[in-house]
């Protein structure tokens, strides 16, 4: 037994959160397909329900297979702990509902996954939580949007799909100067390429459906929290005042740095119910074992494909921050030195019609609404992922009708390039 501080990332991707099962000796993580767990006795049951002990009760609140996934993600992100959720969207919702309630306000980047934009713009507003969307290329505008009822700044490390890069350290410092946490979605970077907690972020969310799983087989999400934010600063009564959902338990007083994650699990996840299936947790754990190897290949292939597209006569523009003329390259080199992920966009000469022909022309690349698969994926955001975003907002987010989003897979890069070249020629 030793502390994981001595083990490097690639080792923790395989071992953190899972030691051999003491009962059976199973070396692989067993799938605990059990809705509920037998108590040792009446006192243990009472202690668990009162949160006086940690243990298994019911798989909506916690499950041993999910716990392995949660701890492994927390270890890789450098956080205090984790909470698995059924999807990235539910992880994000729970991460924010643990901080904010009706009458509160969030400041969010406008460079977001379309589904996230809609969750914040429509569902959060309907719950009474106001949201201001700001272009994070203008830090002064972000600060100006923070009000007395603001509970968090939210952004994606690598924006979907524009490949904008969050200045994590700057916005963490800004958030902390206003006594609020920085919540970062790290889906496109994965902890292999960027660990926002090391730069000051407080809460991390993931759609584990993407690179974490890596095979495009299951939905999943996870929240990781640093344990460093002082939620007793007076701005977070949901954490530091007695909770009516737990016989007036004060989460911060009882659990201090563990309070955010305890409330996220024992109150918000318990009541929202978007628990991750342990079958999915098992597949996500298998995926994590190869995360370092896959991400190395993803960024290597992405850079090669980006350089090919940049020179192609049918390509009008490309937004991948490895080129000197991309405004985000400097931040990308700082926060993602091994490469800014494998998802980016390019514009096709000929606009909407050429985009349709391109999508029809690919054979190896898959036309679907997902990213972060081992397979190369392409999509036309204006007509799919960002369709529900109002046209004006879409334009403000930089999503034009000529835009193609690509998620570069880990196939042989020459085959990816051959397929794209064929489709680009067909688009003319």
């Amino acid at each position: 037994m030793t502390s994981d501080e001595g083990f490097l990332f690639d080792t923790r991707a395989i071992h953190a959160g899972q030691r051999p099962d003491p009962e059976s000796g199973a070396r692989a993580m067993p799938i605990y397909a059990s809705t509920a767990f037998v108590f040792e006795d009446a006192q243990e049951a009472a202690d668990l329900f009162a949160l006086q002990n940690f243990g298994n009760i019911y798989s909506r609140i916690g499950n041993p297979t999910n716990a392995a996934f949660e701890e492994r993600m927390a270890s890789l992100e450098g956080g205090l702990g984790g909470l698995a959720a059924a999807s990235g969207m539910s992880a994000q919702l729970i991460s924010l509902l643990t901080l904010a309630t009706a009458g509160d306000h969030l400041v969010s980047s406008n460079a977001l996954y379309g589904g996230t934009f809609t969750q914040l713009d429509v569902t959060m507003r309907r719950l009474g939580i106001d949201v201001t969307f700001v272009d994070f290329a203008e830090p002064d505008a972000v600060e100006a949007a923070i009000g007395t009822n603001t509970k968090a700044i939210f952004a994606e490390t690598v924006g979907n799909p524009g490949c904008t890069i969050l200045d994590v350290a700057h916005f963490a410092a800004l958030a902390h100067a206003h006594d609020i946490p920085l919540v970062v979605d790290n889906t496109f970077a994965t902890p292999y390429l960027c660990r926002p907690i090391e730069w000051g972020a407080d809460v991390i969310t993931h759609s584990a459906t993407k690179f974490i799983g890596g095979h495009g087989v299951v939905l999943g999400g996870v929240i990781v929290e640093s344990g460093r934010f002082p939620f007793d600063n007076g701005l977070f009564p949901v954490l530091s005042e007695p909770s009516p959902a737990y016989h007036d338990l004060n989460f911060w007083e009882n659990f201090r740095e563990y309070g955010y994650l305890m409330r996220a699990r024992a109150e918000v996840m318990r009541d929202v119910g978007a628990a991750l299936s342990p079958f999915n947790a098992f597949l996500l754990l298998i995926g994590l074992e190869t995360l370092p190897l896959r991400m190395q290949r993803h960024v290597e292939n992405a850079a090669t494909v980006a350089r090919f597209l940049r020179e192609h006569p049918s390509v009008a523009w490309i937004r991948y921050p490895i080129f000197d003329d991309n405004p985000w390259t400097t931040l990308a080199q700082k926060y993602l030195p091994e490469g800014p992920g494998a998802v980016f966009t390019f514009g096709i000469n000929g606009g909407y019609d050429a985009g349709v022909k391109f999508i029809a022309g690919v054979n190896l690349a898959s036309h679907l609404a997902n990213v972060g698969d081992a397979k190369t994926l392409v999509i036309h955001p204006a007509s799919t992922t960002h369709q529900q975003v109002p046209h004006a907002d879409r334009e403000a987010m930089g999503i034009g009708d000529d835009m193609i989003r690509i998620s570069v897979g880990i196939e042989a890069v020459d085959d990816i390039i051959g397929d794209l070249d064929m489709a680009l020629r067909a688009s003319r």
Partner: protein, 161 residues
């Protein structure tokens, strides 16, 4: 340990303390069921530790007798687990040294470097700003079940505690 260093126990030292200790005195424990000290006590009474409640304000906590001071306990506790305000810590440390305890443990949120140095000079081990419940749960696997990062990596089948 150099006297200039702030005394505090590493993860390996905390595990050794938990593995080698058999009795714990909870100084300043509350009888109020929603206070943190009561949560810790409710957890520790369910472990193999022999636990002793210490608080002159109560006769009983969690149906166990509550003692006014460390000197009144039926045995010398291995660990003195402190739930008092920072200004009360030096007196508790003096008391722990006087009865011959092996470890003084300042709970989560509590630090007192001067009192910690006094304890180290007297030969006691010191843990600061940590929760004994959470550290026990870290090595027993309970904390893991709540999704927390225990930092434990091992391919051994048996748990350390």
């Amino acid at each position: 340990m150099s006297i200039d260093l702030v005394p505090d126990a590493s993860a390996v030292e905390r595990l050794r303390i938990i593995q080698t200790s058999q009795s714990v005195a909870l100084v300043g424990v509350s009888a109020n069921a929603i206070r943190a000290s009561n949560f810790v006590a409710a957890y520790l009474v369910r472990t193999p530790f022999r636990t002793y409640m210490v608080n002159p304000a109560y006769d009983e906590v969690l149906a166990k007798p509550c003692y006014p001071s460390l000197a009144e306990l039926p045995e010398v506790p291995d660990i003195v687990d402190v739930f008092r305000r920072p200004e009360a810590i030096p007196a508790v440390v003096d008391e722990a040294i006087a009865v011959g305890a092996k470890v003084v443990w300042f709970q989560l949120g509590l630090r007192h470097d001067e009192a910690a140095r006094t304890a180290v000079e007297a030969g006691l081990a010191v843990v600061q700003d940590r929760c004994l419940k959470i550290e026990h749960a870290r090595f027993s696997g309970r904390l893991h079940l709540a999704g927390f990062n225990t930092s434990v990596i091992s391919s051994k089948r048996r748990r350390p505690i």
